[in-house]
Subunit: 424 residues, 2 copies
């Protein structure tokens, strides 16, 4: 039987779903407000790393255009400040990779078009809902913008916050030496914030994405409130000063301060905040057609653990498989989808929300866990590779007893693996 | 780490769970009110068939003491009465088997004891709850009797009925010739009820379990309300008359009416009704220990499709695996259990409740489906083997569109497989 699938939004979830469906010959249309040519001149939307599980799906879809051999990174350095700072390293089993979405999304759009997908470039307004619903057997909503995105109510049980938990300042910078073995540098400055430095492929080549996760009311919040455009030089001086004070593991690789700036110009920075929320997985439109929430629409997570994009890609894959497998796109269909994607989606949210709280309050059992990681390479490796599998991380953090049991099991193993040098 | 597991109730779920845990060396205690020696003199508790998926688990547990080669049956004959009665047959892929639980349960209790399990024979009263909770790391509740069984509230969303949907009369009978190839005879008498005849191993050998599912207010309801003990001869005459009028496919194998009687005596009959209900999967006891609902306690189903015992056995297996696999028996543990057992448990309930409604109201699309089965052996086979997999049946019956798609896909296949003879 033929199925006509409409996808609202051309983010990672929508595009990967579209490509998945095209590989199975499904009739699929993406509706989005940005044409491929519009991306190069647009503001940085975020700085999303794709973990190995996501890269693996890209390979399966035939869109791994940025091989990890050239652009990937291999693990996480951790830095936890305080009177006695901790530094340690954990390896992935397979590398991650971060590409500027202003490159990634238009490239996947072209590929989707080449493979027979249809794209309609337009703004959707309220009056478009009924006509769109009439054209498709299923609508997949993966942008919060516009009338569809507003239809999915928050699930209070899984949406504990009513405001952003971090004041974000996210930018793509040049002037920070790449590590000889590429890795994320994940730093925490107790009482002030966290910062994730990601090896990041942007227009000019490899640069450094810096995700400043600033605690509201703390010393770093000013980074989210100071406009680059108002005085670029002052912003750079401010950022440099904060890096030197809070995040030395990144600051120590800025060799010439005059080189430190946004990599491609003033559009390379994004400031604001995200209120984490889990929303209803689906709704029934007036004509009886189902609309399924995907990616950020189903679950909005703070970027502190880099879970949003990977969760969206995973959910898109599951949704694609079920659309292909099932004859009837009804409530039972959604049950199958939810049964398969639900735990990972929810675990990404729960683990991220747990860490947002824990990194702010630093309870002793968590500090004990961090110290155990700093002494046990196998534990740090498992934690690092766990960024691929939020449901496994949640198995480890859902209660203090679980963390203790995991540490007791893993940290006892000895390991002499070398830590990649920080400065080559 | 050591885990101490307490199981309340020694039904199929509790015993299979206990045996599973003993195979992994877990410390496990069953608390029940009936000693192995009490069973032979007790009333028939029900007449449960174990489908192949359950027999497979019994083999894995080393308790398949009643091989299907000797006692199993191989498919279902269907009879749907009315002006133009339909008769057709569907095969299992692997045989089912029904053993009198007054034989099965005490045998499994002995085996559990032999393998190091502990059994405490006693009634549990309210004051026992706290002391029992203090002795275990997890309590599994698989009997509705007593204070534990009352703790699990109904889930209204999945409990649509507030009273029994059938007036049941369940007995073990002799005097009905066994089919040359053993099979269930599953009959429907529109407007009056359904009856399931099951080849049934009881104390004296193979007999026939008859499960009369009588519609409230219909011609057959009297079977649930007439006491055998009051006048055995009158009851037998009544049952014979109703069989001849409503269920000819069974009645035609009663060669000498004087042989037709309860197989072992007056305890071989059970009358009453079951209100289908789904209950909370778990609760937290006052001391923080979890109590998990299993089997009938989690979901009570009408016996019309024989789903209760098989669902309970499946859920026990999953629960056993998760108890063995997980270090910490907390809420996250229950999430894993529910994620794995939930769809089958709920599908057994939904499919059964759907059929209770549908067999009473006989909507045209359902009659169309029955006619399609009567003409397509592959469809009848898939439906019959589907008794093993209620979640697959629910995939087929969750909406009329799903049934139509399944029929269109399956019924087109041609098949010449022989139907086993009804009379040898």
């Amino acid at each position: 039987m033929t199925k006509r699938i409409g996808i609202i939004g051309a983010g990672t979830a929508g595009l990967q779903l579209g490509l998945h469906l095209r590989r199975h010959g499904v009739d699929v249309t993406i509706v989005t407000d940005l044409a491929p040519d519009d991306y190069a001149g647009s503001r940085l939307p975020n700085t999303v790393a794709h973990h190995a599980v996501t890269v693996e799906r890209e390979r399966a879809l035939g869109v791994d255009f940025w091989p990890t051999e050239d652009h990937g990174y291999f693990g996480h350095h951790y830095y936890v400040g305080g009177p006695e700072p901790l530094r340690f390293y954990g390896d992935y089993k397979s590398p991650s990779r971060a590409v500027d979405y202003r490159i990634y999304h238009p490239r996947l759009m072209e590929e989707f078009l080449d493979r027979g997908g249809k794209i309609e470039i337009r703004q959707i307004v309220h009056d478009d809902v009924a006509p769109l619903a009439a054209r498709f057997d299923l609508l997949v909503v993966c942008t919060g913008k516009g009338p569809f995105g507003q239809m999915f109510g928050r699930v209070p049980e899984h949406s504990p916050f009513d405001r952003p938990q971090r004041q974000l300042c996210v930018g793509v910078f040049r002037g920070i030496s790449q590590l000889p073995t590429r890795a994320v540098v994940w730093s925490a400055s107790p009482g002030a914030g966290e910062m994730i430095e990601i090896p990041f492929l942007t227009f000019g080549g490899m640069a450094s994405a810096l995700v400043f996760e600033n605690h509201p009311g703390g010393d770093l919040e000013v980074l989210a409130q100071t406009r680059y455009d108002d005085d670029p030089k002052a912003f750079r001086a401010l950022a440099l000063g904060k890096l030197r004070a809070h995040y030395p593991m990144t600051a120590e690789r800025i060799e010439d301060e005059r080189d430190f700036d946004l990599a491609n110009g003033p559009l390379d920075i994004l400031q604001g905040g995200v209120t984490p929320a889990v929303r209803r997985s689906h709704i029934v439109l007036d004509n009886g057609v189902l609309a399924v929430a995907l990616g950020d629409v189903q679950a909005t997570v703070d970027p502190v653990l880099g879970q949003g994009g990977n969760m969206a890609s995973y959910a898109a894959w599951i949704l694609g498989e079920e659309i292909v497998a099932q004859d009837v796109l009804d409530h039972r269909f959604v049950e199958h989808v939810e049964h398969r994607r639900g735990d990972r989606v929810l675990s990404a949210t729960r683990w991220t929300n747990f860490m947002l709280d824990t990194l702010r309050t630093l309870p002793p059992e968590f500090l004990g866990f961090v110290q155990a990681m700093s002494r046990s390479r196998p534990l740090a490796d498992e934690f690092t590779d766990g960024f691929n599998y939020p449901e496994r991380q949640w198995d480890r953090f859902a209660s203090p007893g679980r963390t203790a049991a995991w540490v007791a099991e893993t940290a006892s193993a000895t390991d002499d693996a070398a830590v990649p040098a920080l400065v080559g």
